[in-house]
């Protein structure tokens, strides 16, 4: 169970450079969220996979409102800022998310499935933390869903095939944001190889996604994208 801290910045347990590193990593994700919202409003297609959206909002709710953040109150507020950005993404999920699936039968259950997904993830993350499996700032539960999100991004871009619906800014900001948090975890949680494995796996998938993005933009990728569109 995370220990509550009343300080804005927990400098007694974490050095200032480490807290700055964590803050910059979080900011990378704010950039990604803003770009996702902007691109969805422009293209009418939500690029972040539905499975990741429902997990993210649940995690941010649990860690922003239900558990204290060991890093300090400032970071609890940071998680809440993520949550409010993510509310916009959830709204867009309900509005445009069904375009991520092709079949009419799946489109018909899309919204109830999203509601179930959010509730299931919230309950799961809440008890995961309550059971004492997480770190004091939600890194393990966060990286479980981050790994899933990074894997789903790879699947979605290959399946969807229309590169203009995906943003290079999002690709880079999510990779860099996560990478900075990964460095933080390597320093702070060096005794937790499970978390570090999740960090490396996420990094590998994020780099693969960027590689695929550039490949689609080049000739080889055009062939892949055409294949994806043809199949869709």
């Amino acid at each position: 169970m995370p220990v509550a801290t009343t300080e804005w910045f927990n400098t007694s347990e974490y050095s200032v450079p480490l807290l700055v590193l964590f803050g910059v990593g979080c900011f990378g994700w704010v950039v990604a969220y803003v770009a996702i919202v902007k691109n969805t409003l422009r293209n009418g297609f939500l690029e972040i996979p539905a499975g990741a959206v429902v997990a993210n909002i649940a995690w941010e709710f649990v860690w922003g409102f239900l558990y204290p953040n060991e890093l300090g109150r400032f970071f609890s507020w940071g998680y809440r800022v993520w949550f409010f950005f993510d509310l916009a993404i959830v709204y867009l999920l309900f509005r445009h998310g069904h375009l991520q699936v092709e079949l009419a039968e799946l489109k018909a259950i899309f919204r109830p499935a999203c509601v179930f997904g959010i509730a299931a993830w919230a309950v799961g993350v809440y008890f995961f933390v309550g059971e004492g499996y997480d770190t004091g700032y939600g890194a393990i539960s966060g990286y479980i869903l981050n790994t899933m999100m990074s894997a789903l991004y790879v699947v979605l871009i290959l399946r969807h095939g229309h590169l203009q619906d995906f943003s290079l800014l999002v690709a880079w900001s999510k990779m860099l944001g996560t990478a900075l948090l990964t460095v933080f975890n390597f320093v702070v949680q060096s005794g937790n190889p499970y978390l570090l494995a999740l960090c490396l796996l996420t990094l590998a998938l994020d780099l693969l996604y960027i590689g695929i993005f550039y490949a689609i933009r080049s000739g080889r990728g055009a062939e892949l994208a055409a294949a994806a569109r043809e199949a869709a």
Binding site: L106, E131, R159, P193, Y194, A227
Partner: protein, 220 residues
């Protein structure tokens, strides 16, 4: 030490062990049902990602770590692993039909290999970190929940639902239900595990309902 016995009646009561054993048998039957369809229809009904997670879990808990339920159950986990080896073989041979993007087939086997290794590494470390129960059910239900969730969209996506087996659907539900009974009896204080069990059960029941309504409604 009870775990060294054939059946660990020191740490577990007979009803608890019966719940687990019956659930384990139901799962073995589900695997046999899946294998039958692989042979008959050249079709792997378990979603590819779930197959990768399963074989990784069974390798981790059947070969690397040892359940404390007793030697009989250790071999039961290994039997699951053996059956799943054949399912993985079927996946590598016929699993490409699940892909929605045909020209990406050349990457399918590579992706399966990568996924199995990734799941195995993370499950191994999750257990080493002390996050699992001595029976492997926290990591086990993480993998099972993933399978139960993926079954639903895959069932929808397949135009021909004939190869999906009612026998497998019911064995899966029954197997999970019985092992959930074990979890409720043995780990009542582990609310995370209970949450995983509850969500998995909801998804399994939904799949069985979906199976009977949609498959029956499918035109011949």
């Amino acid at each position: 030490m009870g775990s060294e016995l054939l059946v660990n009646t020191v740490d577990y009561t007979t009803p608890q062990l019966l719940f687990f054993a019956a659930g384990g048998i139901a799962w073995a039957l589900a695997y046999l049902g899946v294998l039958r369809e692989i042979v008959r229809q050249k079709f792997v009904e378990i979603p590819a990602t779930a197959v990768c997670a399963n074989i990784a879990w069974e390798f981790t808990w059947g070969i690397v770590y040892r359940t404390d339920l007793g030697t009989l159950f250790v071999w039961g986990y290994r039997l699951w692993f053996l059956l799943d080896v054949f399912i993985v073989w079927g996946l590598l041979r016929y699993g490409v039909r699940h892909l929605q993007t045909p020209r990406l087939r050349e990457y399918f086997r590579l992706a399966v290999g990568f996924a199995i290794l990734s799941f195995a590494a993370t499950l191994y470390l999750l257990v080493r970190q002390g996050y699992d129960t001595p029976t492997g059910l926290v990591s086990g239900y993480m993998a099972t929940l993933l399978m139960s969730a993926l079954y639903i969209p895959q069932f929808f996506r397949e135009r021909d639902r004939t190869p999906y087996s009612a026998f497998v659907a019911w064995c899966k539900l029954l197997g999970n239900g019985l092992v959930i009974g074990f979890c409720v009896l043995v780990y009542p204080e582990n609310h995370f595990l209970q949450a995983l069990c509850g969500i998995t059960l909801v998804l399994d029941v939904y799949y069985v309902l979906l199976f009977h309504t949609r498959r029956v409604a499918q035109p011949a």
